[in-house]
């Protein structure tokens, strides 16, 4: 589990204080203790802090807020709030079938940062296109949606396995030969949400 931001900041402050000590009292480095201090302040702690920071950034990038922080993703965020259970992402999000704070990552686990090196390069390209390129009107997945993401939760679940519609195609679903989205075809529909009623969560 990554370090909380407050803990990370405290570690950074402690590291900078040690660095200041080495920089402002360089004569300390002449002694053995000073050499160890310089090693800790200028080598060990900076690498430790950078490693912990990377882990924290990776955790951040799983958050729904992170994914929706780019303007182009706003319609996809709105699609989670459609007041119609036929919309697959909305049904999952609103009924806590996916954790709301990590909704995008739960169903798109191999996306950009979390995918292979090709996916990571695509992620860098997304940032480039977002700031310097031309954003396409309609965003598409690079590869067809993989049933693996659905079966990760639904596979083995009684309601899914014993469903009369699923039974005849269960093997094909497992092999990704038939897509779940062939029947459950109302997904984000991000560019067809004009005028659609959105769900307002009632706060207890």
């Amino acid at each position: 589990m990554p370090l909380p931001i407050a803990g990370f900041a405290a570690l950074v402050v402690a590291t900078i204080a040690l660095i200041a000590l080495v920089v402002l009292r360089p004569s300390l480095v002449a002694a053995r203790g000073g050499k160890i201090l310089a090693f800790v302040a200028l080598f060990f702690l900076p690498l430790l802090v950078t490693g912990l920071g990377t882990a924290a950034q990776m955790e951040h990038s799983k958050s729904t807020r992170f994914c929706l922080s780019c303007h182009v993703m706003e319609p996809y965020g709105r699609s989670l709030l459609v007041d119609d259970p036929a919309y697959l992402p909305a049904r999952h999000y609103q009924n806590n079938r996916v954790p709301r704070e990590a909704a995008c990552f739960t169903c798109h686990t191999n996306y950009t940062l979390f995918g292979d090196y090709k996916a990571k390069l695509r992620g860098l390209r997304h940032v480039y296109v977002n700031y310097l390129g031309t954003i396409p009107k309609q965003i598409k997945l690079y590869e067809p949606y993989n049933n693996r993401e659905c079966l990760h939760c639904h596979g083995g679940a009684r309601a899914f396995e014993e469903n009369e519609v699923h039974r005849p195609v269960r093997a094909e679903l497992g092999k990704n030969a038939t897509s779940c989205l062939e029947c459950h075809d109302k997904v984000h529909n991000a560019h067809g949400l004009a005028g659609v009623k959105l769900w307002q969560e009632e706060k207890p």
Partner: protein
């Protein structure tokens, strides 16, 4: 008493400055959950820290051995 060569001091100071700047950049990006923040963390913060750490390592391997009392660096030891 041993002293520290001025060149080593200068390199340690520069290394310290680079590492401190890198750590500050890394910390600031953690408060901003945005893909750009991740890139700034990696390519600015990470690069500054890496440069500082490498400069520190270079400083300690390239500095002459400190001499006793005189304050002058002693010549490198012959193999």
């Amino acid at each position: 008493m041993t002293t520290v060569a001025p060149q080593l001091i200068r390199r340690l100071q520069r290394a310290g400055l680079l590492v401190a700047l890198g750590l500050i950049v890394e910390t600031v990006t953690l408060f901003w959950p945005h893909p750009t923040a991740f890139l700034v963390f990696l390519f600015l913060g990470g690069l500054l820290v890496a440069a500082g750490v490498l400069l520190y390592l270079f400083a300690i391997v390239s500095s002459p051995l400190p001499s006793a009392t005189s304050g002058e660096p002693s010549p490198p030891a012959s193999a």
